[in-house]
């Protein structure tokens, strides 16, 4: 029986996301009976002060002077330069921290960064354990206003540039500003991706259905993302570190009830790579590396588990 007559222009649930809920599905398990798989995805996006004609920009973004503002007036370089900090300094600091802690990491790169920032793609590929494609640029996003052809070209061009200039074959995608259209997941699958990280949804990998079948949604929670907590919510960095510790502790404990969990950490070079925040990354990665119940993997490995 159906009582609700949804309006014809409404789509009530996300397409291709299976309706399977904790406590109502078979538990996930990990090799060696580990309780929690953690993957670390470091973002190295490039911000473009000028975008090509027809490109779609976010309505609001973090960074710049103070608040989470809308697009700054042309001529203010605050956000451009703050995001660029991630490429000159932040991503390299985070890579060094991960190397010292013995934690494998993936790094996401976008087409503009790979193509226009000299040596970035090559340098990152030499140090990261996985390369992930992050669309066209930090502020050139996917939008439902794009036609299918334009969206397919956006995805294919980004993948081709990042793959060629890093010398890798990326299997993972993370959209700038987590932007998507209802057809993106099926296009990602068509273009050869096996997982994407945009959806802050379940605490375990989710195999999509329907037109997106064979694509894995590998969740990266907003709650543990540095940009979201430190900029969007404005959490003090000491509280952010506590939040990370408490998240890890609870997920490990939950495994007895729910089966193994996954935590995808999503950190930005221009955020956690700043000197004032970097110790949070350092201490958190050391905690993860020393924890007997945690399996450290790259996102691609987590999606394949």
């Amino acid at each position: 029986m159906t009582l609700i007559a949804h309006p014809a222009d409404a789509t009530v649930f996300a397409p291709d996301l299976p309706a399977s809920y904790d406590a109502h599905r078979a538990p996930w398990s990990l090799p060696g009976d580990r309780r929690l798989a953690v993957s670390v995805l470091l973002h190295a996006p490039s911000y473009q002060d000028d975008v090509p004609d027809g490109a779609v920009k976010p309505l609001a973004m973090a960074g710049g002077v103070g608040r989470d503002t809308s697009e700054p007036a042309h001529g203010q370089v605050a956000r451009l330069s703050q995001w660029d900090f991630g490429l000159t300094t932040g991503i390299w600091r985070l890579l060094s921290i991960a190397e010292r802690a013995g934690v494998p990491v993936a790094v996401s790169l976008d087409e503009h960064g790979a193509r226009t920032v000299p040596g970035l793609a090559r340098g990152v590929a030499a140090r990261a354990q996985e390369i992930v494609v992050r669309g066209s640029a930090a502020n050139i996003i996917l939008s439902p206003t794009m036609g299918e052809h334009a969206e397919r070209a956006y995805i294919a061009n980004a993948r081709e540039s990042v793959a060629r200039l890093t010398g890798t074959s990326p299997t993972g995608w993370f959209g700038p500003e987590r932007s998507m259209t209802p057809r993106t997941t099926s296009l990602l699958r068509d273009e050869g991706f096996s997982w994407f990280g945009d959806w802050p949804v379940d605490e375990r990998p989710v195999a999509l259905e329907g037109a997106s079948r064979r694509l894995i949604a590998l969740p990266h929670p907003l709650e543990t993302e540095d940009m979201f907590q430190l900029y969007t919510r404005g959490l003090p960095f000491a509280d952010y570190e506590t939040l990370l510790e408490e998240t890890i502790e609870q997920l490990v404990a939950d495994a007895d009830v729910t089966g193994a969990r996954h935590l995808g950490l999503s950190w930005f070079g221009w955020v956690l790579g700043q000197a004032c925040f970097a110790d949070v990354a350092e201490r958190t990665l050391r905690l993860l590396a020393s924890h007997p119940d945690i399996l450290l993997v790259t996102p691609g490995e987590a999606a394949a588990l």
């Binding site: 473009q48 002060d49 000028d50 710049g64 002077v65 103070g66 608040r67 007036a73 042309h74 001529g75 203010q76 370089v77 605050a78 451009l80 330069s81 703050q82 660029d84 900090f85 490429l87 000159t88 300094t89 390299w92 600091r93 060094s96 193509r115 226009t116 920032v117 000299p118 040596g119 970035l120 090559r122 340098g123 540039s161 200039l165 404005g234 003090p236 960095f237 000491a238 700043q274 000197a275 004032c276 925040f277 970097a278 110790d279």
Partner: protein
């Protein structure tokens, strides 16, 4: 003189080289960290041209925020100066230049302490957005005339744009008017070259939106304790990283008298000044001294290194990727 057309776009001005592989950079006096205090001594028009207001809260005049900010110059600055003087803290004042002409007490306080004057525009409600080349050229000419007239012939060496504003011509005009650095670009922990069309040297001076009371206290509501913990975490990390990789770094601490001059903040301002004064690996200095040292010792080497990096990169691109 060229007019109208921007010769370079902002992304093109970045001279990229990763911190981890670029030639080593030193700071004045061989310090591991150069600390520069940047008090933003600003004026906000009672009624601004175009009707802008400090907070976009109510229509002009916004007396709540006009008075909040003006209290910074009337009261807060003088409390801040007690901390600055106690710790003999060199300061690079980001100054609304109208204060040179219209607030002699503020001007004299700056001159008595031999603070370096960094232009912060005429008023902080008169951003540079949308200025034509000629209008912006006249703005820079007026800035230097104000400094020469009221500061014993001294010329201004750098700028933080009013409201961190600029145009596509700003970098060219900074150089044309004899300035050596700009603090709007926060893309590095070291000074960096910024590309100019005419080839003049222009240094991007690391300013901060983190160690800065407006973004952290006014916009993000951090407490004084949280803000100073952030500042000390930044300085400590810069010192450790500089010791490890040999790359000396810059820490900018940006204040505004209407915030950092508040009674409740005085103890925290004093704490951060005491912290940096207690460590001889840190040099308390000015943006101008850092820029001079960088131009003298590192600028050309960094440009040459970045050019080699770019040349190698371009060789790996397809023709389509070079000119999409």
């Amino acid at each position: 003189m060229m007019a109208g057309r921007a010769p370079l776009r902002n992304n093109e001005r970045l001279v990229y080289a990763p911190m981890s592989t670029r030639p080593r950079v030193t700071m004045p006096g061989g310090a591991l960290v150069a600390f520069w205090h940047a008090p933003n001594v600003e004026h906000y028009d009672y009624i601004a041209p175009g009707g802008g207001t400090p907070q976009g809260r109510v229509a002009y005049p916004d007396l709540q925020h006009y008075m909040h900010r003006d209290s910074g110059n009337r009261v807060g600055l003088w409390r801040m100066l007690r901390a600055v003087d106690a710790f003999e803290m060199p300061s690079t004042v980001s100054l609304s230049l109208s204060l040179l002409e219209e607030q002699p007490e503020v001007r004299d306080a700056v001159l008595e302490r031999d603070w370096e004057i960094m232009s912060h525009g005429i008023s902080n409600l008169r951003p540079l957005y949308g200025l034509s080349y000629d209008e912006e050229d006249a703005f820079f000419a007026l800035s230097q005339r104000l400094s020469e007239a009221y500061c014993g012939g001294r010329r201004i060496k750098g700028m933080l744009g009013p409201k961190v504003s600029g145009t596509d011509n700003t970098c060219e005009l900074l150089v044309a008017h004899g300035m050596a650095y700009v603090a709007d670009w926060i893309h590095d922990e070291q000074p960096r070259p910024l590309r100019t069309a005419a080839g003049g040297r222009l240094v991007s001076m690391p300013y901060s939106f983190m160690l800065n009371d407006v973004p952290m206290i006014h916009a993000r509501s951090l407490s004084g304790r949280e803000f100073i913990d952030l500042a000390i975490a930044q300085i400590d990390r810069l010192l450790r990283d500089a010791e490890e990789d040999g790359q000396a770094r810059v820490a900018c601490f940006a204040t505004h008298p209407f915030l950092s001059g508040q009674p409740w903040f005085h103890r925290y301002l004093s704490e951060v000044f005491a912290y940096v004064r207690s460590d001889d690996r840190i040099r308390c200095t000015t943006a101008g001294e850092i820029a001079d040292h960088y131009i003298e010792n590192h600028y050309d080497e960094q440009v040459a290194f970045a050019a080699r990096l770019e040349s190698e990169h371009l060789a790996a691109l397809t023709p389509q990727e070079v000119s999409p």
